[in-house]
């Protein structure tokens, strides 16, 4: 229980919307959201499919705890074959949209085929209809949301949509809901755009009521909220400073990748940190940070709401950017800032606004600009080609690039292809800081060794959200490990990956794991869904989800050769800081990881492993 028990299948080629019962056996075995939607996906889609062909499918999925009083119970994920990577993609978002879909009585929506003309899906409880999207095609997310609400005369609708980036084929386009919450990575927005699907608008008034044991559920959620409240990270650090609390911490560790990973410490880190966001600006006396904010059901409230100085060069005379909106999270601040050597906080905030407004992943965008700036410094790319002097540290170049990339104009069309394709085109593929075509987030794998293994083996390409060993290696959660050594990291990475897969499948936010372990989630899931969800069973489900994703990638053509890091991280030692002299020890960790996973030497799950996990 706790599932709505119903999924919506939309065939965009035929223009049909059909309700079908949820496969309850799969729901039990894969929980929901990431696990369950991926199960549907791998059963229905050929792994060799071209991500942008009509034969690819794309799924919006909630978890059983989505739309409940469990803290952070408002998540949804978008599952497809990623446009950027060609691997399984699963991007997770908060805001209010996921809960609204569940309140309307749906666990997930599966889109198939491709519409001849731009359309959007409108759902009002049981009613689901495709509508002509001519009036919003070409519009931003910020224009699309109010336009749909006005057309339906329903201000309480929630909208999940793409902006220009998803329409123009940027390979790392995001799906954005509630103006600034994003299913950001791997190009899920690109796949949405390739199907001529502009938006999904939902109004749900049925609510979530079929909790297995309400009394036990309320007790479990109250206890778990107390754990979040009493924890220093989730109770104080995140609400006050957001994920940006990490900027100065990671920089001090010598693990803040800077200027396309040439350096590991950024001299401008303090200027783009959480502390800087809260300081009154010299120019107008106001702070960049206006307030913190929560997603649906979240008692942490790490979100940043920021305002740019109205006289800043990026927004002067452009009042549409004067209002407060979604501010910098750590990964975005790093990718737009340190990765390019830019320390202008308001310029980064502006670039972040544009990424939200037009639906683009700031991590892959920022990291690709880092590669462009390096190629420019080497003389491989010229000012004439780029349209601007693009030396490291140029806020003007960064903000120029964000504007032309979301629209797919000029050199922006090439930046929109991501660093792997761009650096290969200009003869320097080693300068793409990516795994499986997806750019790294904000942790250097020379200074935090476990993250190198987590990146290399992440099923969706380089990613911090698949196995966040930073928690252990930096923050000591649940136990402190030495970030500079490789010993023990294979087990650590596996444990984080499997547990995260459970959280991503439940409908709650992975940030709860700064305070919660599986033991805090288990009573909530058991009370809501099934007494069969024991600790042992949940652990097994996490591992099952991980291996299912891996198998899909193997069928798609990925091999152990793709579990690799760029040459720079394997051969160029960190120049400064605590990790000085170190390269990534991936070659030591990977064989051990395959062993603890129960995979063969080529990284394929063995028959015994599959049998044990029921795959």
């Amino acid at each position: 229980m706790a599932w709505a028990g119903k999924i919506l299948r939309v065939n965009l080629t035929a223009g049909t919307c059909k309700s079908e019962p949820l496969n309850t056996k799969w729901a039990r075995d894969y929980i929901g959201q990431r696990g369950l939607a991926t199960k549907y996906f791998v059963e229905e889609v050929d792994a060799k499919v071209d991500p942008l062909s009509p034969d690819n499918k794309i799924i919006w999925a909630t978890g059983p705890l989505t739309g409940t009083m469990a803290s952070t119970g408002g998540r949804y994920s978008v599952i497809t074959k990623g446009a950027l990577t060609g691997a399984i993609a699963c991007s997770n978002s908060g805001g209010y949209w996921g809960a609204e879909l569940k309140m309307a009585g749906w666990d997930m929506i599966i889109f198939e085929g491709k519409s001849k003309k731009p359309v959007y899906l409108a759902i009002e409880d049981d009613k689901a209809e495709l509508h002509d999207a001519a009036f919003i095609w070409g519009k931003s997310v910020w224009e699309t949301e109010p336009a749909i609400k006005a057309k339906h005369q329903e201000p309480q609708m929630r909208v999940s949509s793409i902006g220009r980036a998803g329409e123009t084929g940027c390979l790392y386009a995001a799906v954005v809901n509630d103006l600034h919450r994003a299913a950001g990575r791997s190009g899920v927005g690109t796949v949405m755009g390739s199907k001529n699907l502009k938006a999904i608008a939902v109004r749900g008034t049925k609510g979530v009521g079929n909790i297995r044991d309400f009394k036990a559920f309320m007790q479990a959620t109250v206890a778990a909220k107390k754990v979040l409240h009493d924890n220093a990270v989730t109770g104080q650090g995140l609400p006050a400073m957001g994920t940006q609390v990490l900027m100065n911490v990671i920089n001090t560790m010598g693990a803040l990748p800077t200027r396309n990973h040439r350096d590991v410490e950024f001299e401008g880190a303090k200027d783009i940190s959480a502390e800087a966001m809260a300081e009154p600006r010299k120019t107008d006396g106001k702070a960049n940070l206006v307030t913190n904010t929560a997603c649906f059901g979240c008692t942490i409230a790490c979100g940043r709401i920021s305002k740019i100085d109205e006289k800043h060069f990026t927004v002067v005379n452009r009042p549409q950017y004067f209002g407060a909106s979604g501010g910098l999270e750590y990964e975005a601040a790093w990718a737009l800032g340190a990765a390019n050597g830019v320390n202008d906080l308001d310029a980064l905030t502006y670039a972040n606004f544009i990424c939200n407004e037009q639906g683009m992943d700031p991590i892959s965008f920022g990291a690709t600009v880092g590669a462009v700036m390096e190629l420019y410094g080497m003389g491989v790319l010229s000012k004439e080609q780029l349209g601007i002097d693009a030396k490291f540290g140029s806020a003007e170049a960064l903000t120029h690039f964000v504007e032309i990339t979301v629209k797919g104009e000029g050199f922006g069309k090439e930046i929109a292809q991501g660093s792997k394709r761009l650096t290969a085109k200009y003869g320097h593929p080693d300068l793409s800081m990516s795994v499986k075509g997806q750019e790294f987030p904000a942790y250097d794998s020379r200074g935090i060794q476990g993250m190198g293994l987590a990146y290399a083996t992440s099923n969706r390409g380089a990613c911090h959200l698949r196995g966040y060993t930073v928690a252990s290696e930096v923050l000591g959660i649940p136990v402190k490990t030495d970030p500079l050594v490789t010993e023990g990291k294979a087990d650590l990475v596996k444990a984080f990956q499997d547990a995260t897969a459970v959280f991503d499948s439940a409908g709650v936010c992975v940030f709860t794991t700064f305070a919660w372990t599986l033991a805090d989630l288990q009573p909530q899931l058991a009370a809501a869904c099934s007494s069969e969800y024991t600790m042992e069973e949940l652990g097994k489900i996490g591992e099952r989800v991980w291996n299912m994703e891996r198998e899909f990638n193997n069928r798609a053509g990925f091999t152990d050769k793709d579990d690799s890091l760029p040459k720079r991280l394997m051969t160029e030692a960190a120049k400064t800081g605590p990790a000085k002299g170190l390269v990534s020890g991936l070659d030591k960790m990977l064989p051990e990881y395959y062993k603890v996973r129960g995979w063969d030497k080529e990284g394929r799950p063995t028959k015994e492993t599959k049998a044990r996990l029921g795959l």
């Binding site: 009083m69 609510g207 004067f322 407060a324 909106s325």
Partner: protein
Amino acid sequence: MQKSLHINPDKCTGCLQCEMACSYENYGVFNPAKSRIKVFDFHEAGRKVPYTCTQCSEAWCLHACPVEAIKVDAATGAKMVLDDVCVGCKVCTIACPFGTVNYVQDTGKVQKCDLCGGDPACATACPTGAITYVDADWTGLERMKQWAGKLDNQASA
């Protein structure tokens, strides 16, 4: 002693735990669409504001009701809708200047905040203290204290 719901929007993060708690208390489901308290998002100002009935002493809704379906709870002071009397004419929803009494399609009656009989679920669920339930005569106490604090920063002779 009666108490009032006291709302401090500066502390609201927009998590909607209050809306879920309200709907769970009254309907046994998590459903903000049925909540009697509503959180508004003034996005460009970066403000989230919870809003619900203030339990007017001379309540427009109570006086407007043609069938006397709205009564005062003597213990809490809440203006309560008597479901078995309400005929769903919606005159109260027109009379209320604040919009805090509304029609419910499923039941054919109106609904409004009744302070949960003296233990408001929204206040219990609020994780930040944006919604509290305090002495009805002293809703200004915290604000007075803040201003008072600004006066005592000069050393006395």
